[in-house]
């Protein structure tokens, strides 16, 4: 008899909680493909390569991320910028940029190493693949488009929620250099002008010509 009463006592707790979760809306389970748990602000998801507001790539191909990477999953090669049609400010841009997502340990050292905040991490976490090749993300996949979202390797995959990008911190950091939205639209964050913004000093020949002109004028 005693056993039965103990059993009922125990099941009452179970039943009570069951009724409370169902009726009282206290279910903790997230129905994952249908709804997602909000990721913490600093979640380390897949990487993106950002752009400046004017559309230029932030990546200058300096390979500091590759040097910092403890898993050696980043491969970068720089290349000369075409002065007439530059991809990034300055002389050099990232010509090849590849991350092997399967090697990557999402430590974020690349983000810290990056001198231009070109590489940042998003909240995207859905990138399981069926083969190893697909896990090597090239610049095509990593580079943010001008709207501020990144192309996904599997855009047709119904499991992927591209809208989630809008809430990804990568987007915020991409458009505001120091991470504050108020900076949006401000060209650079330091006082000195960036490369290519002003004309070079006159050469000796030009200087000579100028002084000659001045004397002949006067």
């Amino acid at each position: 008899m005693g056993i039965l009463s103990e059993l009922i006592k125990g099941l009452r707790v179970t039943g009570g909680i069951m009724i409370r979760t169902i009726a009282g809306n206290e279910l903790v389970t997230t129905e994952y493909p249908k709804e997602m748990r909000v990721k913490p602000q600093r979640f380390h998801g897949r990487h993106v390569l950002n752009r400046y507001p004017d559309g230029m790539e932030k990546c200058i191909g300096c390979e500091l991320c590759a040097g910092a990477c403890p898993a050696q999953c980043i491969y970068v090669r720089g290349e000369d910028n075409d002065p007439d049609n530059p991809k990034s400010p300055g002389e050099r841009f990232g010509y090849v940029y590849e991350i092997n997502m399967l090697r990557c340990i999402f430590c974020g050292l690349c983000v810290e190493a990056c001198p231009t905040e070109a590489i940042t991490m998003t909240h995207l976490f859905e990138f399981s693949t069926t083969n190893r090749e697909d896990a090597i993300y090239t610049k095509e996949t990593l580079l943010m488009d001008r709207r501020g979202s990144v192309p996904h390797m599997f855009p047709d995959d119904e499991l992927v929620d591209l809208d989630e990008l809008d809430s990804a911190d990568g987007w915020v950091r991409a458009t505001a250099p120091s991470g504050v939205a108020a900076y949006q639209g401000i060209e650079m964050w330091q006082g000195t002008p960036g490369p290519g913004d002003w004309s070079p000093e006159p050469t000796q020949e030009e200087r000579d010509r100028l002084s000659r002109d001045r004397t002949s004028d006067g």
């Binding site: 200058i60 191909g61 300096c62 390979e63 500091l64 590759a66 040097g67 090669r77 720089g78 290349e79 000369d80 300055g90 002389e91 050099r92 001198p115 231009t116 006082g191 000195t192 002008p193 490369p195 002003w198 004309s199 070079p200 000093e201 050469t203 000796q204 020949e205």
Partner: protein, 837 residues
């Protein structure tokens, strides 16, 4: 405190003695020592040394930008300020321009010094852009490192930095970024003092000073790459290496440059299995850290698309790719057939001068054991006799140049053919006061440092030597009768023939108190190849193939063939006449390489069976029956021997493209298939076998070279013969007397197969040009830059004329093997006519 001028003058001498060469080489007692105190610790240092050098040798690093161990100090950058207790109290002086004195008290890290260093760095960084992430120097930059270790951390300068157009190409190889320049004068001093072509200089004054080239005059020095290496910032960068990699993704290994026989030490740097750059390594024995641009930039052929990757065999007139087994079986079968029919006399092996000693040994053993022939030659008909090159008892060391009284240079233009040696000779003549005598048919790169220069007409070398012997040139005789004479001899002109150099050497040997000979030959490892027996009259270890020599080898090789073999010229003639039925080319391109290519062309056309082991299809092996892909520089381990007999280790770091294999592996496999195994397991075991078989190489193992003799081990001259057997002066009666005589000489950049496949150096070849004295040009009606027709009895072709005061009247100078240039042969008599008249 003495003024800067005084310092500069007084230190010139110090730099010489401090860097060692003279004192050591002359066998004097070591310098006296004084006691100084560095940071509270007292040290014994050589008297007269610079403070910065003395401190460095005692383990205290004083930061510096402008001071370089191999150059004279200037005190430009002020980074090396230290506090010295002087008679009037402590004062800041530059450690690079002050000599140590007995009892000197030096403080390198006190608060005053720290403040000075921080101030200097803050000033240097006032205009230096902070673009380290895109700068090629970033990660290996002295300014970056020292700003980090000695800098103030932040700058008070908020003003806009200087802004120049950048980068500007100052030559085909070097890019200049003036924004980054900190005006240390390393590049300007190098090109002025070391390489002797001051093409880069400061211009303007004060705060607008910038480094630049002269208008319309590119930085076309043969040594421009060194300025990139010594630049302490990213102001001078390499066009070839620009943005290819960063220091942290480079793997590196030490090796030797194989473009000339001096074997400068260098570091091969590789990323993603691709050789990306070569950097000079300071080595007292050979290069002092300098490299010529050919040594530095001439490696791109390794990754050329046209590299052979698969064995090729001829099928229905076409070379088709096949497997190693198929290709080697074919060759082995043919070797067996021919050997059974005609014996070993009909085989010929040409080449082997570009590989390692291990490769050369394999070729030598393969030829003697499998082919049963002594018809092997690594010289391609353009070098001196094998005994003279390899087995001269009076052979000197490169370092002997520094301690000599007189250097006699009778041979090719060192600047063009042996750039590493050129820098050594230049330094000796300029800094160490060695008397330099240059004898060459026309102007050479060393003329401005020569105390005596003689020219002679091509082919008239013996006549000149006769004159000297008869006492017509007393100054020269006097110079040669000095105590220590170094004679650097080689073939100055194709018209001279090889015997001239030997006679010169023998003459000097008889004349001087103690003469040392440095024989010159082309092809990177020719001396190693000859030491391994790649000559018709030598066996490994400079042993003559006489009875005793062969008996010594018999134990490990079986009895080598007794008959004396043919040299390259005889082999090529033999192929033409049908005496030779089987030709093996190992990294050799006779059609492009021998002085008279007609003979090689004929031979290649009429050869019965040609097998080539090479990196590329070239003019000689395009018609071969079997072509086997080999391993190139940095793709194989081994040892090499330079012109002074110094054996150094070269190391592997890059993979061989495709299915290529090292020469020794190919030959070992082939020998196995031909039924006469030569038992070579790997390169290190070959080195061990060499040390057992070749008398001169006893004890030279890889372990020894890697751990004990990092600078290389000089093989003893045992087995060598004195020069006395060479007749001194043949009468130069048969010197050609035509009004115009042809002087064909090699240049640094030519149309050789390696440079042809190196995109950065290829455009630097001079092209089909002929140098004419303006007087001769006037007679021929030729104008500068216009085409002229040059005709000899061996060939003719159209060349672009260059009017050149450096070429004496009556001499016509044509650089050998240039893209578009026709071969002219060895005949000195020449006619020049203007085209279109």
């Amino acid at each position: 405190m003495p003024g800067p001028c005084q310092i500069a003058v007084s230190c010139r001498h110090v730099a010489c003695t401090a860097s060692g060469g003279l004192g050591v080489a002359m066998g004097e007692a070591g310098p006296e020592h004084v006691t100084i105190t560095i940071d509270g610790v007292s040290h014994e240092v050589p008297a007269g040394a610079l403070v910065i050098k003395a401190a460095q040798d005692r383990g205290t690093y004083i930061p510096r930008f402008c001071w370089h161990e191999r150059m004279n100090p200037v005190g430009m950058c002020r980074m090396c300020l230290v506090e010295v207790q002087g008679p009037r109290g402590p004062m800041l002086v530059t450690a690079c321009t002050n000599n140590v004195a007995d009892g000197m008290v030096v403080d390198t890290r006190g608060p005053t010094v720290k403040k000075a260093q921080e101030a200097v760095l803050e000033f240097l960084l006032a205009n230096h852009p902070l673009d380290c992430p895109v700068c090629d120097k970033g990660g290996e930059c002295p300014l970056q490192d020292q700003a980090f270790s000695h800098g103030p951390g932040e700058s008070r300068f908020v003003e806009i930095k200087r802004n120049f157009a950048k980068p500007i190409p100052i030559s085909d190889l070097v890019l200049l970024d003036r924004e980054r320049c900190i005006l240390c004068a390393r590049c300007t001093r190098f090109s002025d003092e070391i390489s002797g072509d001051p093409l880069i200089e400061f211009k303007s004054r004060a705060n607008v000073t910038e480094v630049n080239t002269f208008p319309d005059l590119p930085f076309s020095s043969y040594f421009s790459g060194n300025t990139i290496q010594i630049c302490p910032v990213g102001a001078l960068t390499s066009a070839q290496y620009r943005f290819r990699a960063r220091p942290w993704d480079l793997q590196m290994v030490e090796s030797s440059g194989m473009h000339d026989t001096a074997h400068p030490r260098l570091s091969v740097q590789v990323s993603q299995n691709e050789v990306l750059r070569l950097v000079g390594v300071d080595n007292d024995a050979t290069n002092h850290g300098w490299l010529s641009d050919k040594d530095r930039f001439g490696f791109q052929y390794l990754t050329s698309e046209e590299r052979l990757t698969m064995p090729l065999v001829r099928q229905d007139g076409q070379l088709v790719e096949t497997t190693w087994a198929e290709a080697l079986d074919r060759v082995a079968e043919r070797i067996g057939l021919i050997r059974d029919e005609d014996g070993g006399e009909v085989f010929a092996v040409i080449g082997g001068g570009h590989g390692t000693n291990e490769d050369a040994y394999a070729i030598s053993k393969f030829a003697r054991v499998v082919l049963e022939t002594n018809n092997v030659d690594a010289r391609l008909d353009d070098a001196l006799s094998s005994h003279f090159l390899a087995a001269t008892a009076d052979r000197g060391l490169i370092a002997d140049i520094d301690g000599a009284d007189t250097i006699l240079l009778w041979g090719p233009d060192l600047k063009e053919e042996h750039p590493t040696l050129y820098l050594r000779v230049r330094r000796a003549a300029q800094e160490l006061g060695v008397r330099l005598v240059v004898i060459h048919p026309r102007a050479t790169g060393l003329d401005d440092r020569a105390s005596m220069k003689l020219t002679y007409r091509p082919g008239g070398g013996f006549a000149l030597l006769d004159e000297v012997a008869d006492g017509k040139h007393p100054e020269l005789r006097q110079a040669l009768s000095a105590d220590r004479v170094v004679a650097i001899v080689g073939q100055a002109s194709f018209a001279d023939g090889p015997q001239l150099a030997e006679s010169v050497a023998a003459y000097v040997r008889n004349k001087a108190g103690s003469a040392r000979i440095l024989p010159l030959a082309r092809r990177g490892n020719i001396f190693g190849a000859l030491d391994m027996g790649l000559a018709p009259d030598l066996l490994p270890g400079r042993v003559a193939p006489d009875h005793a020599g062969r008996a010594a080898l018999a134990e490990s090789w079986g009895e080598p063939p007794a008959a004396r073999g043919k040299d390259t010229r005889a082999m090529l003639e033999g192929i033409d006449s049908g005496e030779i039925r089987f030709l093996l080319l190992v990294g050799a391109d006779p059609v492009r390489d021998v002085p008279d290519p007609r003979r090689a062309l004929l031979a290649m056309d009429s050869a019965e069976y040609v097998v080539s082991i090479d990196l590329f299809l070239n003019d000689s092996n395009r018609e071969a029956d079997v072509v086997l892909p080999a391993a190139g520089f940095a793709e194989k381990d081994g040892t090499v021997t330079n012109l002074e007999g110094r054996v150094q280790k070269v190391n592997v770091i890059a993979p061989i493209p495709g299915q290529g294999r090292p020469d020794w592996a190919i030959l070992d496999d082939l020998a196995e298939r031909a039924g006469r195994p030569i038992g070579l397991a790997n390169a290190e075991s070959i080195a061990k076998e060499i040390s057992e078989v070749a008398p001169a190489y006893t004890g030279i193992t890889w372990d020894h070279l890697e751990w004990e003799a990092r600078d290389g081990a000089v093989v003893p001259l045992s087995g060598s013969q004195p020069l006395s057997h060479i007749p001194v002066a043949l009468k130069g009666d048969n010197a050609p007397t035509a009004p115009l005589l042809l002087h064909v000489g090699r240049t640094l950049y030519d149309d050789g197969v390696m440079l042809r496949h190196s995109p950065s150096l290829r455009p630097l070849a001079r092209g089909a040009v002929v140098h004419l004295n303006p007087e001769d040009a006037k007679k021929a009606g030729a104008q500068d830059g216009h085409p002229v027709r040059v005709v000899t009895s061996h060939g003719e072709g159209e060349f672009s004329a260059i009017l050149d005061e450096g070429t004496p009247e009556g001499v016509v100078y044509v650089p050998f093997n240039q893209p578009g240039g026709a071969p002219l042969g060895t005949d000195a008599v020449v006619r020049v006519t203007a085209v279109g008249r």
